[in-house]
């Protein structure tokens, strides 16, 4: 059946159950069938039920895994760094700390830039979420959440709201107002509900939808206004630690990485796991898309960062050194994608040449592990958040 079925995605009433939902248009032996994704799974389960045992399925899954490995291996005709030998070596790299943001009382766990390139939001272990103006070091807004360990925070694309979540198993959205005296807590809106901690959250292209990843092993897409669950993504077998949205406006995919050492690519409309990468040797702490959207990088507790290409469906580079033994907690690309910034648990930030696979520079300054790194939207600066209670802006 698999070599005769093609999957695309539209929206409309399902031919089997009648409900309006994202549909998978499947052609079975040239006959078009438009079912919602649930009915498709029902149909395939029923078809498979005829006389198959767990043992035969296990054999088939092992065969398929081997076949996948072979297919992927066939395409590995050359290494990325060999192709990159023709490009010029990067000159001396000189960036240093330009701003030091002090104000959090405890470890800073997460931060995100606003699209206006100067504001950023950061969250910390003591439950405080602060919105800063990075140019002037002004703290513009501060909210105290009732829970500790706010592990995820995100700025809305319009700049009018922030979302944050953590050990409270929820993701809440706060609309930001210009009135300094207003109590932001009063306007708080609980959007996502998970059964374990929220490890990552991001707004999609609009303020209206949020994507969250959670310690319960799932990711979910929520509507902010109604709090409704729009789509859930099951497939990880352990905590999902990070997620990132594909950069293009038309893209409908995102990547997630988790404690099961896997990084998965998901289709947001159908909830389907499109591709899966399992080469890391330990938990994947952070995943980030390459600016073109055709690749992504991941940072892991095995002290390496790896670069995966989506079209070649394989890992194409590993960024590691024998002298680096501490896990990497966060990665981000520079605007052109030539530089990869990675924050490690040994308090440093390493800058890697993405194409050549070599280390360009090391940034020292933090006094505790770096928990999160983000390059500003116009690429002029890098902000790093750390367990030493501060954030540093490098430029």
């Amino acid at each position: 059946m698999c070599d005769q079925t093609f999957v695309a995605a539209t929206f409309g009433p399902c031919e089997s159950c009648g409900k309006a939902s994202p549909l998978m248009n499947i052609y079975i032996k040239t006959e078009a069938i438009n079912f919602c994704s649930f009915c498709v799974e029902l149909m395939t389960c029923q078809v498979l039920q005829g006389g198959e045992s767990v043992a035969s399925l296990k054999r088939e899954s092992d065969n398929l895994k081997k076949k996948l490995e072979e297919e992927r291996g066939k395409l590995n005709d050359i290494e990325l760094h060999q192709v990159a030998e023709k490009s010029e070596v990067l000159g001396a790299f000189a960036i240093k700390t330009r701003r030091l943001l002090k104000g959090h009382g405890n470890k800073v766990l997460c931060m995100d830039w606003c699209k206006d390139k100067r504001r950023l939001v950061s969250s910390s272990q003591d439950g405080k979420v602060i919105v800063w103006d990075a140019f002037t070091l002004n703290k513009e807004h501060g909210v105290t959440l009732p829970c500790t360990w706010v592990m995820a925070c995100a700025y809305a694309p319009s700049g009018c709201a922030v979302a944050c979540g953590g050990l409270d198993n929820k993701c809440s959205v706060f609309p930001l107002s210009l009135d300094k005296n207003e109590n932001l807590n009063a306007k708080k809106k609980s959007v996502a509900m998970h059964t374990n901690y929220v490890s990552g959250c991001t707004f999609t292209s609009s303020d209206m939808q949020i994507l969250t990843s959670s310690g319960d092993g799932t990711c979910a897409l929520w509507d902010v206004e109604s709090g409704q669950l729009l789509q859930s993504f099951h497939g990880h077998t352990a905590d999902v630690l990070s997620l990132d949205l594909a950069p293009s406006e038309t893209g409908n995919t995102f990547v997630s990485g988790g404690s099961d050492m896997k990084a998965n690519i998901w289709d947001m409309r159908s909830g389907q796991n499109i591709q899966s990468f399992e080469t890391h040797e330990s938990d994947i702490n952070c995943v980030k898309y390459y600016p073109s959207g055709d690749a992504f990088a991941s940072a892991s507790d095995d002290a390496t960062c790896r670069f995966f290409d989506l079209r070649a469906d394989r890992e194409v580079a590993i960024y590691q050194k024998d002298s680096i033994i501490f896990g990497a907690s966060s990665v981000d690309f520079s605007l052109s994608g030539r530089l990869l910034f990675a924050g490690y648990n040994d308090y440093t930030i390493n800058v890697w040449d993405v194409l050549k696979g070599t280390r360009v520079s090391v940034l020292f300054g933090h006094e505790n592990r770096v928990s999160r790194l983000r390059v500003s939207p116009d690429g002029t600066a890098l902000c790093s958040a750390s367990w030493d209670n501060t954030l540093r802006i490098w430029s």
Binding site: M1, C2, C17, K19, S21, F38, E41, L42, T44, C45, L48, E52, V54, L57, K58, S61, L64, L68, E71, L75, N76, D77, I78, E79, L80, A84, R98, K117, R118, F135, T195, T218, Q228, L229, H234, N273, Q275, S276, Y290, P291, S292, D294, A295, D309, R311, A312, D313, V316, S334, L335, S336, G337, R338, L339, V354, G379, T380, A381, L382, S395
Partner: protein, 101 residues
């Protein structure tokens, strides 16, 4: 998991349809512990997923690498962290102290 079940409206309807008895087991797979029938269903899911992954179109690494390199080259000039910005245009330059004249 109970919270998830009540929010997923599109999952509720098959359970009410008596002909889709297999759907009932499928729906409960997520909430019950591993039993014989749900083991089978779980394995089917794995096989299905692998079939799907095996059927996607792949590109050679040389082609993909060339494209990545081209993207880097095209955008290298617009990358401030790569090319470096002078202190006068850098918005994060060290703040000058203002004094009254």
């Amino acid at each position: 998991m109970e919270i998830f079940g009540s929010n997923q409206t599109e999952f509720n309807h098959p359970a009410q349809n008596p002909t889709h008895s297999s759907a009932f087991i499928f729906f409960h797979k997520k909430t019950s512990k591993m039993s014989g029938s749900s083991n089978l269903v779980a394995m089917k899911k794995v096989v299905q997923q692998l079939r799907f992954e095996a059927s996607i179109n792949r590109v050679k690494v040389s082609q993909a690498a060339a494209d990545l390199q081209q993207f880097c080259m095209q955008n290298a000039l617009q990358d401030p962290l790569l090319t470096g910005v002078s202190s006068s245009t850098n918005p994060f330059r060290p703040q000058k102290v203002c004094s009254f004249l």
